[in-house]
């Protein structure tokens, strides 16, 4: 059992490391991290953000990300954002985006996917789901 698990991990690790890029960290202040495959990496400007990464900030943290379709996400302090799905065809601008605000706050300026395939863009918290029709908004989760 254990060796089977180990083998599975070994087989899948290269896939995880070669995950598709979804965007790039553009701004970062205070405690700001990328959570990837169990690792906590500093979210410095220029670092890439991959599909299925989470972004986490501390009490003094802020992180701004631009996705490949020009969607801009800014996580506020004490926040966790999970990028659950991101697919984008840079030629046709068709794609899909699904992100979840686990705690804290997130500002969003939607990008090209929301223009081409608005029904494929969703943001959610534990209590609501948002459909986006090309727009600028804030999500605050929790209290």
């Amino acid at each position: 059992m254990r060796s089977a698990l180990l083998l599975t991990l070994l087989l899948f690790t290269p896939v995880i490391l070669a995950a598709d890029q979804a965007g790039t960290i553009k701004t970062s202040e205070g405690a700001a991290f990328i959570l990837r495959a169990g690792l906590k990496l500093p979210a410095n400007p220029g670092e890439r953000v991959n599909v299925s990464d989470s972004i986490a900030t501390g009490a003094d943290g802020l992180v701004g990300i631009t996705l490949l379709d020009d969607t801009r996400l800014t996580a506020g302090p004490d926040s966790t954002l999970e990028l659950r799905r991101f697919v984008f065809d840079s030629t046709t601008h068709v794609g899909s985006l699904d992100a979840s605000v686990k705690r804290g706050s997130l500002a969003v300026i939607s990008g090209k996917i929301a223009k081409t395939s608005p029904e494929k863009v969703t943001f959610s918290t534990s209590t609501v789901t948002l459909g986006v029709r090309g727009t600028h908004f804030i999500i605050k989760a929790g209290n």
Binding site: R2, L5, T24, I25, K26, T27, E29, P45, G46, R48, L62, V63, G64, I65, T66, D70, R72, T74, A75, G76, P77, V101, S105, A107, I109, S110, T125, S126, T127, V128, T129, L130, G131, V132, R133, G134, T135, H136, F137, I138, I139, K140, A141, G142, N143
Partner: protein
């Protein structure tokens, strides 16, 4: 192995049990005007239903019992609570175009020479730009020569940008020859506006 996997679940379960009646988390959504002043729309949904937000500074809150309640806020309240976060928003993607003298891969038109400092100053404000440099030609000369010229134009702009100390997270150059003219012309026609390099910045 399993112990490690189960640990987070155990921690979450413990947290739930130590708070006999945890208040259900509420969420607030605030629709803001776009940077150009227009206002988009959002559809907010949960198990109790679905409601739209269409006006600037309108809000939707999911309360403790799951119901959605609409409200409004103001630019001042948003700035007070979320100003620091909004100030950290990445710069909007932008593109610039510079034009070249006829047949040249390294000499810009006089007008573009004047714009270079403005473009450079803007790029220097960005901490981690992704830049795509795309060269084009007019339709004077062969397709092959124009492919080569467009690539050389893009590469000279790329070298210039790299020499300025701009902090790029990626920069790539490509030539599109005479395939993507700004102004459509018959073959063989000189068109100064097509002798250009686009600098797309994200």
């Amino acid at each position: 192995m399993w112990g490690i996997l189960l640990l987070p679940a155990a921690v979450i379960a413990a947290a739930l049990f130590t708070q006999p009646q945890p208040p259900q988390a509420s969420s607030t959504i605030i629709l803001l005007p776009d940077e150009d002043g227009s206002v988009g729309s959002l559809i907010v949904s949960n198990e109790s239903g679905q409601q739209a937000l269409n006006t600037a500074y309108s809000t939707m809150q999911s309360g403790d019992s799951g119901e959605l309640s609409a409200g409004t806020t103001s630019a001042e309240s948003v700035a007070a609570e979320f100003g620091a976060m909004l100030d950290a928003t990445p710069a909007a993607p932008r593109s610039f175009t510079v034009t070249f003298q006829s047949g040249s891969a390294d000499t810009l038109t006089v007008q573009s020479q004047r714009e270079v400092d403005t473009i450079k100053a803007y790029l220097l404000t960005l901490p981690a730009s992704e830049i795509s440099v795309i060269g084009h030609t007019d339709r004077v000369g062969s397709t092959e020569d124009n492919d080569q010229l467009s690539r050389l134009r893009a590469e000279s702009v790329q070298r210039y940008i790299q020499s300025t100390g701009v902090r790029t997270s990626s920069i790539e150059a490509a030539g599109r020859g005479e395939r993507e003219p700004l102004i459509e012309t018959p073959d063989g026609v000189a068109e100064p506006r097509n002798r250009r390099v686009e600098i797309r910045v994200r």
